[in-house]
């Protein structure tokens, strides 16, 4: 059982942090619930490795608490935290057989040999390693080694969370999806909290039920892959998730909505009211290339853009358009007709999102984001 609660957590590598930039992790509150499959996603340098090391106990946070099932573990070393970790490069004991590798944590805890036998066989079965048990661990392929590292975490019945640190980095591309599948199966079979740290959106979205996107030492969104795609809570999430990322346009307030150049975009009245209350002038609208509607011909509701470039990617096409000096990317299907010179587009209301100070403004619910 483990719910991992990061309470008012902050971490800085400098001795006397006084400004926000000194913090690798800015103050945050976050809960990884028991038994969930989670990912921690972000670009390099966003603080995700720091956060991982704080959870595993290799680093002690500057401020705040790490709670496992409500008990503070700040000062408990990694070996006593009941967590396992799978590293970027497979860590195996190469002088041992696969069996001995898997048995190692159990034998360290002086588990009776009968129990070691049954437990190792059970885990080897789940990981499809049974045929390799007698082999020397040093001659295996990277994916098999990585399964062993994972197995060493699973054999211990007291392990309640497994942390993964970019575990598929050294795996052959053709084998990656099989290992991803294995990971998901393992998660469904064993009721264990798993946190998967990566910079790759595919890894994160495939593995996790919920993803925490980290940017600049903060978790800017914690949501399902679908939420990250359809309702990014922060402009960075919009940019980082999806290829190409979200179109983000800097805009000013106007009477019925927002404008840039001579282009006016109407928004719902609730949204207009909400925007008027906000002190900040840093307003952006965002829409994904997939959601921009392209009309077949001129239309009163549509904006007229110049077609700059068409990128034919085979399965779909990316149109690069210019609207009032702003470049927009639009994704259209393979069979859809490509407009000539001018394109007529509109932004469906449900997919047009408004960001103030980089965070999403939601008119339907109460204000979110900035705290």
């Amino acid at each position: 059982m483990a719910e991992i609660h990061l309470k008012s957590l902050a971490h800085s590598y400098s001795k006397n942090p006084n400004k926000p930039a000194d913090y690798a992790i800015r103050e945050m509150d976050h809960v990884w619930e028991h038994g969930g499959a989670y990912a921690l996603l972000g670009p390099s340098g966003c603080g995700k490795s720091t956060l991982l090391n704080i959870m595993s106990g290799l680093l002690s946070p500057t401020n705040g608490q790490v709670l496992f099932d409500g008990i503070e573990v700040n000062n408990i070393p990694p070996e006593d935290r009941n967590i396992a970790q799978v590293f970027q490069f497979p860590v195996i004991y190469d002088s041992m057989t696969v069996f001995d590798n898997l048995a190692f944590p159990l034998r360290n805890m002086k588990t009776p040999e009968v129990k070691v036998q049954s437990r190792v066989h059970e885990i080897a079965e789940a990981l499809e390693l049974t045929a390799l048990l007698k082999k020397n661990a040093s001659n295996l392929s990277a994916d098999e080694k990585q399964k062993i590292s994972m197995g060493r975490g699973l054999v211990r019945s007291d392990v309640s969370a497994i942390l993964f640190d970019e575990p598929l980095t050294v795996i052959d591309p053709q084998l990656k999806w099989k290992l991803r599948r294995k990971l998901k199966q393992i998660h469904e079979q064993f009721n264990i909290t798993m946190v998967y740290v990566t910079h790759d959106q595919l890894e994160a979205s495939t593995f996790a039920e919920k993803i925490a996107v980290m940017y600049g030492g903060q978790i800017v969104q914690f949501g399902t892959p679908r939420e990250l795609f359809e309702r990014p809570n922060h402009s960075f999430v919009g940019y980082f998730i999806g290829s190409p990322g979200m179109n983000l346009i800097e805009v000013q307030r106007s009477t019925n909505g927002v404008k840039f150049g001579n282009t006016h975009i109407n928004l719902e009245p609730e949204m207009v009211d909400l925007l008027a209350e906000m002190p900040s002038d840093n307003i952006k609208v965002g829409i994904r290339p997939e959601f921009i509607h392209v009309w077949d011909g001129p239309n009163t509701d549509a904006f007229c853009c110049d077609l700059m470039h068409v990128e034919d990617l085979g399965t779909y096409k990316i149109l690069k358009l210019k609207l009032d000096g702003i470049e927009l990317k639009v994704r259209i299907d393979e069979d859809q007709t490509i407009p000539k010179n001018k394109a007529y587009i509109s932004f469906p209301e449900q997919w047009l999102l408004v960001y103030v100070d980089e965070f999403l403004i939601d008119a339907s619910s109460e204000q979110q984001g900035i705290e």
Partner: protein, 363 residues
């Protein structure tokens, strides 16, 4: 400058790296070499550069045989997979180094370094050292060094492979724009079909040291000449189902039947391999002749904005490429719709008999 490769072969101690490569690269063209690891991409680039000498055939530049001319005299630049820069020189000095070797005038050097740095957006870092920069900036520096000297051939050996995908997206489109205004020949090796498509230009498919197909990327993509070309140029790879075409219907693996349409009925009966692109299969029917098949869910890989769904039944497995984020549980039973008018047909030897684009044209 044009580049002509004639019957090039390269082997070492009986091991063949390249066999009978014939290619003509036009001035100002962007050429992508697409192939898996060890397909011979790097070998071919090294021959073009003059770092290795071919064991058969010859290389012509502007009609002049340069097969035996050393690399230093070929006016070539190369960008590698690793970020290769001089660690003890600043970014500015790194970029200037080819010009200094060529004994260019100081004022000219300053002008060109600034110009190239501006294009690649590394102006703010000119006085820093490469190791103080991020991976993307380091690779920009090595690209700037390759671009600054006006080489007539610029070779890129998987330059973006070590960068994360957002940086790849950006650098890829910058590169393409950069070459629009140049008259140099660009040769770009990659293992990723999507990258070949995104870069545009001409794609040459390399497989086991041989050229299997070459042509405009979009044309090669839609009309692969054989099964190998189709597999190489699709990501996720094209779904292949063995089947039997009889007088009036097609049977996939003795399990699924559907009637012939006009185009399929032109093919003589027999055993064929049918191909369908992952992006052509859907979860909802959108054409009359869509074939409904019940499959079991194996895994949904989500790329952020797309879902690659791996499904299986007792006879074959399929991968679907769907827009948006779609989640299912492993083991769920789902119906997929396979458009029979978008089938690729390959004969037993693997040669293409029909592609969807030919069939649309035929209608």
């Amino acid at each position: 400058m044009s580049l002509d490769l004639k019957n090039l072969g390269y082997e070492v101690e009986g091991e063949k790296y390249l066999t009978d490569v014939n290619l003509k690269l036009e001035p100002g063209s962007f050429n992508v070499l697409l192939g898996r690891t060890l397909a011979g991409k790097t070998s071919l680039m090294r021959l073009i550069a003059g770092l290795d000498r071919p064991t058969a055939g010859s290389i012509y530049m502007d009609g002049i045989d340069v097969t035996n001319i050393a690399v230093q005299k070929r006016n070539i630049s190369m960008v590698y997979q690793q970020f290769i820069n001089y660690p003890n020189l600043t970014v500015r000095e790194n970029i200037a180094s080819p010009l200094i070797i060529a004994k260019t005038k100081a004022s000219e050097i300053t002008r060109r370094v600034n110009e190239t740095a501006a294009i690649l957006q590394i102006e703010p870092f000119l006085d820093r050292y490469p190791l103080e920069l991020s991976g993307g900036q380091q690779q920009r520096t090595s690209m700037a060094r390759a671009l600054v000297k006006d080489a007539s051939i610029i070779l890129f050996d998987e330059p973006l492979v070590n960068l994360d995908y957002k940086l790849r997206e950006e650098l890829r489109s910058e590169l393409r724009d950069l070459f629009k205004e140049r008259n140099a020949i660009a040769v770009y090796a990659t293992t990723e079909p999507n990258e070949a498509m995104a870069l545009g230009g001409v794609t040459t498919l390399l497989h086991e040291g041989r050229v299997i197909q070459t042509g405009l990327s979009t044309k090669v993509y839609r009309n692969p000449i054989n099964i190998e070309a189709a597999k190489l140029f699709s990501e996720p790879a094209i779904n292949l189902i063995p089947g039997r075409l009889s007088q009036n219907e097609v049977t996939f693996d003795d399990s699924v039947h559907f009637p012939l349409d006009d185009d399929l009925s032109k093919i003589p009966p027999g055993n064929y391999v049918f191909g369908v692109l992952p992006s052509h299969i859907g979860l909802v029917p959108n054409h009359d002749d869509d074939l409904e098949i019940t499959m079991r869910m194996q895994l949904a890989e989500i790329s952020g904005s797309e879902t690659y769904m791996h499904v299986v039944n007792d006879h074959f497995n399929l991968v679907l490429q769907l827009s948006g984020v779609i989640s299912y549980h492993i083991g769920d039973s789902i119906k997929v719709y396979l458009p029979t008018h978008k089938l690729f047909v390959f004969d037993q030897a693997g040669n293409t008999i029909q592609t969807p684009s030919q069939r649309i044209r035929g209608n």
